[in-house]
Symmetry: C2
Subunit: 131 residues, 2 copies
C-alpha cells in the first residue's frame, strides 16, 4: 500500500485552489490567487506544484503549462496520464480508460523497450464547441 501523503500548509493551499477550479490553472494565476494567504513568491508555488505532481495529486498539462487536479480518485503516482483538450474552449478532461492505459502501459517499441511513464494529450473539439 501507498503511504498517504499529508500535505503541508502551502501544498494544501495550492492543491485546494487547483482542485476547486473547473479549468487547468497556470502557476502565476495560482500565485495571484494565493497572495492573500501569504504565499508571495513564484518559487513557493512551483515547489508545491512539483510535490503535488510527484505524488499524483495534480497533473501538468504540458501543452498548456497548466495544472489540473487528478480526477482518478486516489491516483497516487503520476506515471500514466491521458487528457482530452478542446482547442476551442480549452476545456481539459482526464481520460480514464482501462483499455487505453493497458495498451500504453504494455506498449513496447521496435527494440522491445517498455516505458515506465507516459503522458498523452488528445486534441479536438468538445461536444459544446462542435454544435
Amino acid at each position: 500500500m501507498h503511504k498517504e501523503h499529508t500535505l503541508t500548509k502551502n501544498q494544501q493551499i495550492i492543491f485546494d485552489i487547483i482542485d476547486k477550479s473547473p479549468e487547468p490553472l497556470k502557476a502565476y494565476s495560482i500565485l495571484f490567487n494565493v497572495q492573500k494567504k501569504g504565499i508571495k513568491a513564484p518559487l513557493q508555488v512551483y515547489r508545491a506544484l512539483d510535490k503535488l505532481v510527484e505524488i499524483g495529486k495534480i497533473h501538468k498539462i504540458e501543452s498548456r503549462n497548466a495544472f489540473i487536479a487528478c480526477q482518478n480518485s486516489s491516483c497516487q503516482v503520476a506515471k500514466a496520464t491521458a487528457f482530452s483538450i478542446c482547442e476551442m474552449c480549452e476545456k481539459v478532461t482526464e481520460i480514464s480508460s482501462t483499455g487505453l492505459s493497458k495498451y500504453l502501459t504494455n506498449f513496447k517499441d521496435k527494440e522491445g523497450m517498455k516505458y515506465s511513464k507516459y503522458n498523452l494529450e488528445f486534441f479536438g473539439l468538445c461536444k459544446k464547441c462542435r454544435t
Copy 2:
C-alpha cells in the same frame, strides 16, 4: 496530394539546424546558433518554428520545450506524434508504430468522442542508460 512547402530563407536556416542536430533543440539555443546568419531576434526563430511545426517538418517535445525534426519521411502534418524520452540522457526518438498510431487515431472516449490530433510522450531509460 499535399502541396510541397517551399521553405523561406529563415525557415530553411532553422530547419537545417534542427535537422542536423542529434538532439532536440531549444528556441534560444537555435537563436544563438543562427545569429551569425543574420537572425537576431527570438521572434524570427519562433515564427519559423511555428510554421515548421504547422507543416509537420518538425515537432515540439512539449515536456522539454524543444524541437526535433520529423523522422517519418514526408510527414506533412503534425497531428499524430509519439516520442520516447530517456530521463537520464534526454535522448528523444520519434516512435513510428503503425499499431500505436492506428490505436490512438481510432480511440474514442467514453462519450464516443474522436480526436483530430494527439501527442504522446513515453518516459524511461534508453538502452545505454539502463546498462
